[in-house]
């Protein structure tokens, strides 16, 4: 009996070794949380230049204690030149003191030169490696990603948070592309390499996100201006806010509207050798600024103003769609997808030559504008 008890005690003591603890334990203070990944084309050959930035938690936490004057940055930045992203991670791993950790990566920045060369390998890398955070953002930098990561901004301690938080202002400005890494991957797979990405421009102490980078076949082929991006967002039904401003002939200051709601629908009008599409746009606006001498005091005036805006929105949309058609020849407004989903019989005739057909498709826009509020003054 005593022996049995003894054995039991020994067994339970031994079980401590296999029942407790965690095989993969890595304490939080032994990790570097990479916040941004910047990818550029290297000067030499086919290589890429990879830049990681990660916050130095010790310094950020200590900053409140009064050591703010130390001058050194809270954010560490390392770059390396490598053949692939995976190789770059290993290059950098032997230069930093802690393990790099990508589950909290917020931003992936693509340098312009690299994006023009094509980045299908990046899509593959992200989909193959589950430990990359896919709720982050991916942007194309006008210029070098490395320079964007060197910005010292006054708004946020962390650069990654600064960039991702700009996206939250999407409801205020619909002039950039709101897309997460996840949606981007989804779209790249569905369209086999065509997408719009947000464009990031670098200033002296800040960055701005506006306009779009046109990606065709996993390559950057050009840019869309902020207004053109607004047009595409109208078609895609992605407008959630923002402003519409245009000059009124004979007036010295422009008229401004805030965008309330916008909905859009695509219709196929004709399916000849080239299809004819109609974009039906319904927009609700709030009047926010008019020249002082312009009084909106009757329904007729409001109606004529609505007509005026309708024309304006029509031309914004048409210009943007035409640019995608004629200049870039890439269907990012979802005409092909619309045909595939709703008119599969017709799509069969077009799908093989869609790249040639899309630029020649005829597009008409019909906008219906409702001005919901004119403010508290006439």
């Amino acid at each position: 009996m005593k022996l049995k008890k003894f054995i039991l005690i020994c067994l339970s003591a031994l079980s401590i070794f296999c029942l407790t603890g965690c095989w993969d334990m890595l304490d939080i203070d032994n990790r570097f949380f990479v916040g941004n990944i910047g990818l550029d084309k290297a000067e030499e050959g086919d290589k890429i230049e990879v830049t990681f930035t990660f916050p130095l938690v010790r310094k950020i936490a200590g900053g409140e204690g009064g050591s703010q004057g130390s001058g050194s940055s809270n954010i560490a930045r390392v770059s390396t030149v490598a053949d692939s992203l995976h190789q770059a991670i290993h290059h950098i791993a032997i230069r930093v003191s802690r393990q790099l950790f990508f589950e909290h990566t917020r931003v992936i920045l693509l340098g312009e030169d690299l994006a023009r060369e094509g980045f299908d390998w990046l899509i593959n890398f992200i989909s193959r490696n589950p430990d990359i955070n896919r709720r982050g953002r991916i942007l194309v930098v006008e210029g070098k990603a490395k320079d964007a990561l060197a910005i010292k901004n006054d708004f946020e301690t962390l650069l990654a948070l600064y960039i991702t938080d700009i996206f939250q202002n999407w409801t205020i400005s619909s002039r950039f592309v709101e897309i997460s890494i996840d949606d981007f991957m989804n779209q790249m797979y569905t369209t086999d390499g065509d997408a719009l990405l947000p464009r990031l421009s670098v200033g002296k102490t800040d960055v701005s996100i506006g306009g779009a980078a046109v990606i065709k076949d996993y390559k950057l082929v050009g840019w869309l201006s902020e207004e053109e991006t607004l047009g595409i967002n109208f078609v895609m039904g992605k407008v959630r806010g923002g402003d519409l401003t245009f000059d009124e002939p004979g007036q010295h200051i422009p008229i401004s509207f805030g965008i309330g709601k916008a909905r859009s629908r695509i219709e196929l009008l004709e399916a000849g050798p080239y299809p004819k599409f109609k974009i039906i746009e319904k927009v609700e606006l709030n009047l926010t600024e008019t020249p002082l001498e312009m009084k909106v005091d009757s329904n007729e005036k409001l109606k004529s103003l609505q007509k005026r805006v309708e024309e304006e929105v029509n031309s914004i949309i048409l210009r943007a769609v035409n640019k995608l058609q004629k200049e870039y020849g890439v269907d990012l407004v979802g005409f092909g997808e619309y045909l595939y989903r709703h008119k599969p019989e017709i799509w069969k005739n077009y799908k093989d030559n869609w790249d040639d057909i899309f630029p020649n498709a005829e597009v008409v826009v019909e906008t219906e504008v409702t001005i919901r509020s004119i403010g508290v003054s006439m």
Binding site: D24, P130, R134, D182, N186, T190, R341, H342
Partner: protein
């Protein structure tokens, strides 16, 4: 005869039988099912799923009819009675082998997923062995405690996973299911077969039917469990396809995991549900392997007419383990799972159907003789 050998209380209730079937059916299939159905039928995948559910229901009802014919005999005895001893024994061994293959593929997939999801550096051997030992601990006590555990644990993983999946429906694009009905019919039928493989699980109840208390309610048990399983899989398919898109669903090895790890609820209140998913995943796999492990041990016990099924738990242990360790990578593990899936056609559809017809014929012949 076998009944005498078992303890009197080793009888399971109707609810426990249901929990057993549901738990056995929902296993590793939930991770790969969206890929399988969308690669077969694209946007018409949900049709494939419904068709597969219908086939499974038919198979399950056939199995229920067999269970009603048993009259206290074991499944192995009944197979021998209908087909004659040599053929019956071979078929029973086929069932045993089938259970072992399914078991090892489940164990292996479990380890692969855990390595990708959370425990990157933990060796597979350790993950598989520890789960095996825990399942041995449960089934060692017999069917009744196992089934009682299943009944108890079912809501604990079912409800959280339904909640998580529903969160994935936020901001999703149902247009992914268009165009409707562009898939040729033979592809739909072929696809539904592979769906039926993921939904099988009632064969576990078939071989342990000797312990079910009320045979007259068995069709009801089967129908309800298959419908629950079907509804659960339908929810998975809809969430995964609407949030990943058809193209990526076809490409990911485990589309369901890919979907779950990226659920974000607006306002960032809930992000990174991976932890909950790991817990649910372990429980789902655990219930599946317990059901199949028990079925495997019981089948071999009945084949050898042994008194004690516990020794077979120990005897099968190394075989299952080594079979699980054979695949060199995740693709080979997939083909092991496919092999088990293909055997489902025999064990869950063909043999039960033949058995049902043969048994009825035999009964009539006997009556005529009398």
């Amino acid at each position: 005869m076998v009944k005498k050998m078992q303890k009197n209380d080793d009888i399971i209730t109707t609810g426990q039988a249901m929990a057993l079937v549901i738990n056995a059916a929902i296993g590793i299939g939930l991770l790969s099912l969206p890929r399988e159905v969308t690669s077969e039928a694209g946007p018409d995948g949900w049709l494939v799923l419904l068709l597969g559910g219908f086939f499974t229901l038919m198979g399950a009802l056939a199995a229920a009819a067999i269970i009603r014919q048993l009259d206290g005999r074991t499944f192995v005895d009944y197979v021998c009675f209908v087909f004659g001893k040599p053929v019956g024994l071979i078929l029973s061994i086929l069932y045993g082998i089938y259970f072992i293959i399914v078991l090892s593929s489940v164990f292996r997939t479990f380890a692969e997923v855990m390595k990708n999801l959370a425990l990157e550096r933990t060796p597979r051997e350790f993950l598989i062995l520890s789960l095996m030992l825990v399942s041995v601990y449960l089934i060692y006590h017999g069917l009744e405690p196992t089934a009682r555990f299943m009944e108890f644990i079912l809501p604990l993983w079912f409800i959280p996973s339904v909640v998580i999946l529903s969160l994935g429906l936020y901001d999703s694009d149902f247009g992914e299911f268009l165009p409707f009905l562009q898939t040729p019919l033979e592809k739909l039928l072929l696809g539904s077969l592979s769906t039926a493989m993921s939904m099988a699980g009632y064969e576990v109840l078939l071989v342990s039917a000797q312990s079910v208390s009320r045979h007259e309610k068995i069709s009801y048990v089967m129908a309800v469990s298959i419908i629950v399983v079907l509804a659960f899989y339908a929810l998975i398919l809809v969430t995964v396809v609407t949030s990943l898109g058809i193209a990526e669903t076809q490409r990911a090895i485990w589309p369901t995991l890919a979907m779950i790890t990226r659920i974000t609820v607006p306002g960032k209140i809930l992000e990174r549900l991976d932890v909950v998913v790991v817990i649910v995943w372990v429980v789902v796999v655990y219930t599946t392997v317990c059901a199949y492990y028990f079925a495997a041990a019981l089948t071999f016990t009945n084949i050898f007419k042994a008194r004690e099924f516990r020794s077979f738990i120990a005897l099968l242990f190394p075989w299952i383990y080594f079979l699980a360790m054979i695949p060199q990578n995740v693709l080979e593990a997939e083909s092991l799972a496919k092999l088990g899936g293909n055997m489902v056609i025999a064990t869950s559809f063909a043999i039960p159907l033949l058995l049902l017809i043969g048994g009825l014929l035999k009964k009539r012949v006997k009556k005529d003789e009398a």
